[in-house]
Amino acid sequence: MNELTEEGFGREVASGEDGLVRGSEAAIAVRPTRFRSAGEVEDLETVFELDDISVSYAGVPAVKNVSLDVFRNEVTALIGPSGCGKSTLIRCLNRMNDLVPTAEVTGRLLYRGEDLYGPRVDPVQVRKLIGMVFQKPNPFPKSIYDNVAFGPRILRMKGDLDEIVENALRSAALWDEAKDRLDGNAFGMSGGQQQRLCIARCIAVEPDVILMDEPCSALDPISTARIEDLMMELKRDFSIVIVTHNMQQAARVSDRTALLMVELDATEQNRWGRIVEHDSTERIFTNPSDPRTEDYVSGKVG
């Protein structure tokens, strides 16, 4: 069964001896990959394999020739200057670009070994497995409870809904603040709480991957710190890809970092993003290989 088709979230779902499926742990077939960084070789499980991915809008290139792997239970950060295609790239990972009629994605993008853009793949299933949290908190105009319960209801998920909501709010470190006001309007929450609510809403449908597109850019430093702490907790259960303008945030929370920079054609009329370097975050921020990375992360060019 294909995990991305409408027939179900196959992921070679395997039951334990007691017959219970234990989320992604039980469901995901382990496919180790060798990844080299700073001379070290690690056994890692690949979630995404991007091979020569290019994205264009109405024929105008936005991102060119991106090849990188994203690994399980890691935070991968995409950094780079404005207009380098970070958001375009992250939106490829759950086919959000499908919603833009002129968008075209070429190259090969495998999610757990399956072509994410294959003809039988259902984008709705893709977005269930690969959730997204946006720059600005976008709760629905509903109660806190209904915000979190929305996805499980739509997807007719099995299990006790109250329990699903509580677990999602706990995972998003919001339960203690929200448990006595579950019927209250989500708009009554602070910005940081609303963003954690959006994360809870994402978690409630049991995704495999969480994509975060500048999740803290609208938040104050305390709320940002809470989201960053939360990411460190969440990566135990999920794989996370984050786009951030804040290089120190990338340095704090991510395991690997990819830097995209803007390139111009000879006429300087067309510009697109391309990956300059992708390595362990430690290496990117202490001893990068490419001088462009050195200049960008140390703020010498912008």
């Binding site: 120190q248 510009r271 050195e294 992360v297 140390s298 060019v301 912008g302």
Partner: protein, 231 residues
């Protein structure tokens, strides 16, 4: 794409910080020159001045250390800048220790008394060691400032000369005679030679930090734990 240079003020701050840190090496060579003069002429007053003047080196250490903390807190340096900051912390520690070695020497000069040196040859070796050490300190400064790893590696070769002289001083101290005063003088001078030998080692340490800034890898130029003569 034409990239715009940014954080110019930060870059100026970093360059100024490095300048002040490396300026500490000038203070060390100045102090070392006075220390050698005090040894050669058994000048107790000059030795006292060396001890008192160590506050200048300690002050430079504290000043640069505070500036580094401020820069870390306010500018979050990364990559080469971060390695430079880390190296400067080590360099300042080496400078402070070299200043302390001069103080150690200056403090024992009064113990040798105002009489003529017991062994002119040993004094000659010690002064040669001191001058070599001063020259190494300057070479380390140039090597660091110019990020010249080869010049820094050459410090090891030159430090070996100091190590040989140190061993010779050790041998002379043993052979100096049975008389109590002569033995006391010999042992005191052995301590002086040891302090100068450590200054040479500190200069090599600065060379290793230079290599770290340039390559991103910290490797001792020479493995101090390898079998070999003491010194």
């Amino acid at each position: 794409m034409a990239e715009r240079a940014t954080r110019l003020h930060y870059q100026d701050e970093l360059a100024d910080l490095e300048g002040r840190a490396l300026g500490g090496l000038d203070l060390v060579t100045e102090t070392l020159t006075r220390t050698l003069e005090a040894i050669e002429s058994s000048d107790v007053a000059l030795a006292a001045l060396v001890v008192a003047d160590d506050d200048r080196i300690d002050g430079r250490y504290l000043e640069v250390h505070q500036s580094i903390l401020t820069l870390l807190a306010t500018q979050q340096p990364v990559a080469t800048d971060l390695r430079l900051i880390s190296a400067l912390l080590h360099v300042m520690k080496s400078i402070e220790r070299m200043g302390d070695q001069c103080v150690n020497i200056a403090k024992v000069i009064p113990l040798t008394g105002n009489e003529a040196p017991r062994d002119a040859e040993m004094i000659r070796d010690i002064v040669t060691m001191g001058r070599q050490a001063g020259s190494l300190v300057m070479q380390a400064k140039v090597g660091f400032a110019e990020r010249d790893v080869e010049l820094c590696r050459d410090l090891v070769r030159r430090d070996d000369v100091i190590d040989d002289l140190n061993r010779r001083c050790f041998a002379r101290a043993i052979e100096i005679g049975d008389e109590f005063d002569a033995r006391e003088w010999g042992i005191t001078m052995m301590l002086v030679a040891r302090a100068l030998e450590r200054i040479g080692d500190n200069a090599v340490d600065i060379g290793e930090q230079t290599a770290f800034v340039v390559t991103g890898l910290f490797r001792e130029f020479e493995d101090a734990s390898r079998p070999g003569p003491i010194g």
